[in-house]
Amino acid sequence: MSDSDQSKTLLEIKNLKIRGFSDEKWHDIIKGIDLTLNRGEVLGIIGESGAGKSTLGLAAMGYTQPGCEITSGEIIFDGANLISLSQKKKQKYWGNRMTYVAQSAAASFNPAHRLINQTTASTIRAGLNTKDGAFKDARDLYGALNLPDPQNIGDRYPHQVSGGQLQRLMTAMAMSPRPDLIIFDEPTTALDVTTQVEVLAAMRGIVEEFDTAAIYITHDLSVVAQMADRIKVLRYGEEVEEAETRRMLADPKEEYTKSLWSVRSLEKKEEVAGDIVLEMRSISAAYGAAKVLFDVDLKLPRARTVAVVGESGSGKSTAARVITGLLPPSEGSVLFNGEDLPAELKHRTREQLRKIQMIYQMADVAMNPRQTVREIIGRPLEFYLGLKGQANKIRTIELLELIDLDESFIDRLPSELSGGQKQRVCIARALAANPEIIICDEVTSALDQIVQEGILQLLMRLQKEFQISYLFITHDISTVKAISDQVVVMSDGKVVEQGLKSIVFSPPHPKYTELLLSSVPEMDPDWLTNLLNQR
């Protein structure tokens, strides 16, 4: 796209300030950020949630979400100040010279139209290409993005392809008008590690091939390391630091940047198992006719953590549902302290229910939004232990202190808590029942790196203090390294490998474990290149 007489700088943002309206007040979201992007360059933007990454990404297109407004600054795209342009003029740029790839491809496609029509719609509408030309180009793009059957995949509907394919199709859509700039907003966050690798490789390939400038927004440093030429770290709407990728990884200047990958250094010393609290004996289970678990054996020792890893659809969560009694197994049995546990939830005694507690991935939906923290934590105290009134309140406050929150939180609603605080309250609710086992279903995967570290440390401390066993379901290998004693690798409803962490994580690996382990991005800008060469 770039001609020699055009200037090298494609996008320049100067002292940009954006504020948003919520809770009856204006809040500053972006507090004066400068940004320069050259043609053909990829800039990575990282930060925790709430750092203003997405707002900045959208602002780069001259767009703000409803309820937000730009208060000052300049956004100069190829010589034009987008802020001073009318909505109509800006729309000439959108979907044409600048395009956007959203986090959830599934929510961004119209389910009623064929993929190829959606891929090419804006190109044809803007008159950049004829229909036949755009279709042919789209098929070439599908090929370049390593999609299966590139000639025909465009004739399918969004529900007929997988999540990873959809994310690549969206990249094809963004690439179709040959834009000067693509904004990628967390495009792989919702994907499994093994899928993420393919999508990352495809995106990087196509951005390089057409020499497109891109802004890549993510909270995962190791992902951005593969994609970006430069990295900008944001926090609370301000820039922490910006540097060339290799330099940033080798030598981060600021404390905050260093703390971003501290969770990766967290590692629990593995301990050998004592007595077994819970055992799954040759469990098979099915949803209706679809079998999802095949002959699964699993042992959970007392006061230890067993991590269950695998992609989505591997049966990890189904195993948890069998243990909790939500899904009675078709074969096999669950033993709790050596005794058979009734298969169905309604046949279990209150005492059996009390001893097995659960923490969920999305703390948002795991708590009733209309109940206060006191009701949420107080209910299991009342239900299992019969604590009422003042005794209930005292115990609730003690539990809050255990999870490092003070009593001022007691009357808050979940919506008034941060993501990490929500998850802590969920932990307190599980703890209130004095359980012997807590099943943690992806409890940290929706959280930022630093918050993750806090939660993991809290869980480890509680384990030591109260001798609780954790069944820790996750797809994140660095979390497994941080918390587990034993590891169970699952794939397609079967256990591929299990044993002590040190044994599972040292070669030789079964084929699937190998694939899973090698797909975890590393903090090395050459990791993806090397991996692709190896495969």
């Binding site: 409803p66 795991a366 115990r395 001022s408 009357d411 609710r429």
Partner: protein, 305 residues
């Protein structure tokens, strides 16, 4: 197992400075932000409630007090004149507020009680109970409700209790459908599963976990449903099978004075008489809808832009 340290009592008496979110505090805050239409609606509704409650003191004459002159024109003694047997129209309109609105509120409440409870149960249970209830509701909804109500009223007789129960049951079908639909979105949430895993019973899950989360659409529906019930009762009264004389009721008042409208060319005021109870119905319907609109807008999370 978890052991707690003994807590000293000073720690227990805590007054947190965090603002208590009582119902009234929140209501006050919301009222302050309400738009003009909603305020108008609320004032009108309040007016109707006062009139209904204090009818015997507000009305100049008794509900079915008959005076010797029928069709008395508007004037000093009878502000809106008298009807075909010489009853004061103004007094009957004031008492009509009590009867018509009172019966409509009772009917709507009962229909929400039935429809809401069954809808929640169906959404949580999802098995044979859901199937049985939903199919029954489908059958009931397949018959036009006004005609169905007419048939049932002629079978069971037109007493107030029958009227309330029949309309309540017929309208409960709509409430059932709405409750079931909005509950289904909540039932799949993890906190409901968490409650089930805790071992909570159906009653707790219905009342404490789901109901608070579906309340906004239900309250909005309550307003709309109230209007429909109100109109149905007025319609049935107009047809002569609703509220029976000598009870004052706006629907039957329209019917009884309907032919006066033909005299509008000779005496405008006389012509307006049947429109008075009709506009009383219309005004309340509009007022309720204003309030419901505001409420719906507020709970839908749409921002004013």
């Amino acid at each position: 197992m978890i052991k707690s340290e003994p807590t000293d009592s000073s720690k227990v008496v805590i007054e947190n400075n965090f603002e208590k979110r009582t119902f009234w505090n929140r209501a006050k805050l919301e009222l302050k932000k309400s738009p003009g239409t909603a305020r108008f609606g609320m004032i009108v509704i309040l007016f109707y409630i006062i009139v209904a409650l204090f009818a015997p003191w507000l009305a100049p004459y008794g509900e079915s007090q008959v005076f010797p002159i029928p069709y008395e024109p508007w004037g000093q003694e009878f502000v809106f004149g008298t009807d075909q047997i010489g009853r004061d129209i103004l007094s009957r309109m004031i008492f009509g507020a009590r009867n018509t609105v009172g019966i409509a509120v009772a009917t709507t409440l009962i229909s929400f009680l039935i429809g809401g409870a069954l809808g929640l149960a169906a959404a949580i249970n999802r098995s044979w109970l859901d199937q049985v209830l939903s199919r029954c509701v489908d059958v009931l909804m397949a018959i036009p409700s006004l005609i169905f109500a007419l048939v049932l009223l002629s079978i069971f007789g037109t007493s107030i209790v029958n009227l309330i129960l029949i309309i309540a049951v017929l309208d409960a079908t709509r409430v059932f459908r709405l409750t079931r639909a909005v509950s289904l979105n909540v039932v799949v949430m993890d906190f409901v599963e968490a409650a089930r895993l805790r071992g909570e019973g159906l009653g707790w899950i219905m009342r404490r976990e789901i109901l608070p989360n579906i309340l906004p659409p239900l309250i909005a529906e309550f307003g709309l449903r109230f209007c429909f019930v109100f109109l149905t009762i007025a319609g049935l009264s107009f047809l002569g099978v609703g509220i029976q004389p000598p009870l004052a009721d706006w629907g039957s008042m329209v019917r009884e004075t309907a032919m006066l409208i033909q005299f509008a060319q000779y005496d405008l005021k006389a012509g307006l008489t049947p429109l008075l109870p009709a506009s009383a119905i219309a005004l309340l319907t509009v007022a309720v809808n204003f309030v419901v609109d505001w409420f719906l807008h507020k709970t839908s999370g749409l921002r004013d832009e």
